[in-house]
Amino acid sequence: MPLLKPDPTFYPSPRLAMQAPPEKYAFVAALNPPGSKLNDALMVVDVDPDSRTYGQQVGQVTMPEFGDELHHFGWNACSSALCPYAPHPHVERRYLVVPGLRSSRIHIIDTKPNPRKPKIVKVLEPEEVFARANYSRPHTIHCGPEGIYVSTLGAPNGDGPGGIFMLDCETFEILGQWEMDRGPQFLHYDFWWHLGFDTLLSSEWGTPNMIENGLQPDLLLASKYGHQIHVWDLRRRRHIQALDLGKEQQMVLEMRPAHNPTKAYGFVGVVVSLKDLSASVWLWHRNDGAWDLKKVIEIPAEPADPANLPPMLKDFKAVPPLVSDINLSLDDKFLYVSCWGTGEFLQYDVSDPFNPKKTGSVRIGGIVNRTSHPKKPNQPLSGGPQMVEVSRDGKRIYFTNSLYAAWDEQFYPDGVGSWMVKLEADPQGGIRFDENFFVENGDYRVHQIRLEGGDSSSDSFCFP
């Protein structure tokens, strides 16, 4: 049923979204570790400091089938519904679109009326996704001008190409592939856009066959994983330009464009460089009408005793940072970088996007360090900072510790654990742990976090 006034969680601009009231709930994708017999679940975590159940899991909805590997998910509608060229402001931000990365099953979950008791209202079975989209392994969800955009890693048979398909934001019908002309694009991972420039950008990981049995060292050393980003005409759905970061830059993952629609730049993280195991963050920007790239952050590998390293890394005598996720605050001021390998979480001031300045760092977990959380100082932690989410006002940062089931084992062979933490961010720069917020879960691994009412990677805006 359409609303009489715009959904109160839709904001015309990122600036207005920052004035939103703080979130009270976080929805967290929870996946069954290998060997478990549990179905995956979506967890609800209380993030309201005034609540008696603050920092605890207060709800859960379990998926109907086994083996989904819930990963990234998103809303049916968000602030882009206010875009002036295709406004539909009276739909509700209400349903979470939650895909299984391994099963290709997509769940539509209703978060109203009680966010503590979300309910599954529709399931798109894998066969339907294969038949109608000719894609598989759905991943990132973005609500946008034409409805819901779903990222996928590959074709139904597990090869490429991966790409994007569309869902209707009200009926959740699969509308078909998004691309009209994909040009040379084959590998796919993340995507997002600059709505003010009618431009979509996409990144590269690997096809399902390249990743589902774990990271394959032979493919990695032969530079077969993704090392490009692609620029698309969002309006005509055509490939415009491929930007190569260099073959040694392996696995180009999360894309975070500036939220301000008048700014044409953004950041993308690279997991590892074959040259020296470093990780990096690159800036894409518009230069005389074409798009260009520049490496703006490089994070070196840390020397380590081979005895403390998993078999895959022993020969290198170093622990790679493995930048797996990045996130940009809504004012485009702070960039957060997860180093899943070293267990470091970094904050950069990117007011000048060409010259980021490091303004904060905390450590937790890590392949070698196993740094503990202040709430349980004697408990060494495995896993590292991974999926990160920033609150709309930019003052609270949440992150979880699992990467991808088949890969967790390779880097944390004795178990990756399961934890979610929260940081407080100083508006002037600087981050520190909220010592009272440490959510552990014995049954599940935890992955992406979405905050009630929207967060720093869920919404896009058409007004500055």
Partner: protein, 229 residues
């Protein structure tokens, strides 16, 4: 009667017409908003103003299409049949849009004159902007007034469609579309500048009522009323 109350008769319809244009512009909701969006994107007032002519033109084309269709139908279709058909179309359109409010599939902030004209045409058509004007063109022309008094009537009653019925078809089409579009342009421009310069887009959160619902109900009601014309 027309001459005796000329001045009063000239003002009332003018006020009425401004309200109607206002309602149309707000109901269409998006022409002025796109102009604001383009202004904010380029961070220039001139971008708001530059967007107005194509938006008005697209709107005019959409309305002209509907009015032309009615005027054409009036020549060939018996009045009673036309009335029934018009009523059915309005009612059905309102009902359909009430239950299936698919949002328009348009993507693109980088738009030129042609793009904006097309966009405005599509939006106005999808909204049924022209349909609401149909009743004004259904009544057959009174035989008593001679054609040469028509320009006078236009002058005094800018948008009272009934008075237009005196015209021969092409001039009736042109003048009614022109007057309607002028009103639309005025309100769209005022609203766009007001929001761009003063109010800011934050007002969307408070003041963007779902007039679509009322608009569609109004279309259906008008459909029913046509039957009693």
């Amino acid at each position: 009667m027309f001459t005796r109350f000329a001045s009063k008769e000239a003002i009332l319809p003018a006020i009425r017409s401004v309200f109607r244009e206002w309602a149309l512009a707000v109901a269409d909701a998006v022409g002025w908003l796109f102009a604001v969006g383009l202004g904010l994107q380029e961070q220039k007032r001139i971008a708001v103003l530059r967007a107005l002519p194509p938006i008005a033109l697209g709107h005019a084309l959409s309305i002209a299409t509907i009015i032309a269709a009615v005027l054409l139908a009036r020549v060939t279709v018996p009045p009673f049949d036309l009335k029934i058909a018009a009523a059915a179309i309005l009612f059905a359109f309102g009902l359909y849009r009430l239950f299936r409010s698919r949002h328009p599939n348009w993507v693109g902030m980088r738009v030129g004159f042609g793009d904006l004209t097309l966009w405005s045409f599509v939006m106005a058509s999808a909204h049924g902007a022209g349909l609401m004007l149909i009743p004004l063109f259904l009544k057959s022309a009174p035989q008593t007034l001679a054609p040469h008094t028509a320009p006078m009537a236009l002058h005094m009653h800018p948008t009272c469609g009934l008075e237009f019925s005196n015209f021969n078809t092409p001039s009736l089409l042109t003048s009614s579309v022109a007057v309607h579009t002028l009103g639309y342009l005025l309100v769209t421009g005022l609203l766009a500048m007001l929001v761009y310069e003063k109010l800011g887009v934050g007002m969307l959160r408070r003041a963007w009522f779902n007039v679509d619902l009322f608009w569609m109900l109004a279309l259906m009601a008008t459909g029913v009323l046509i039957l009693f014309l």
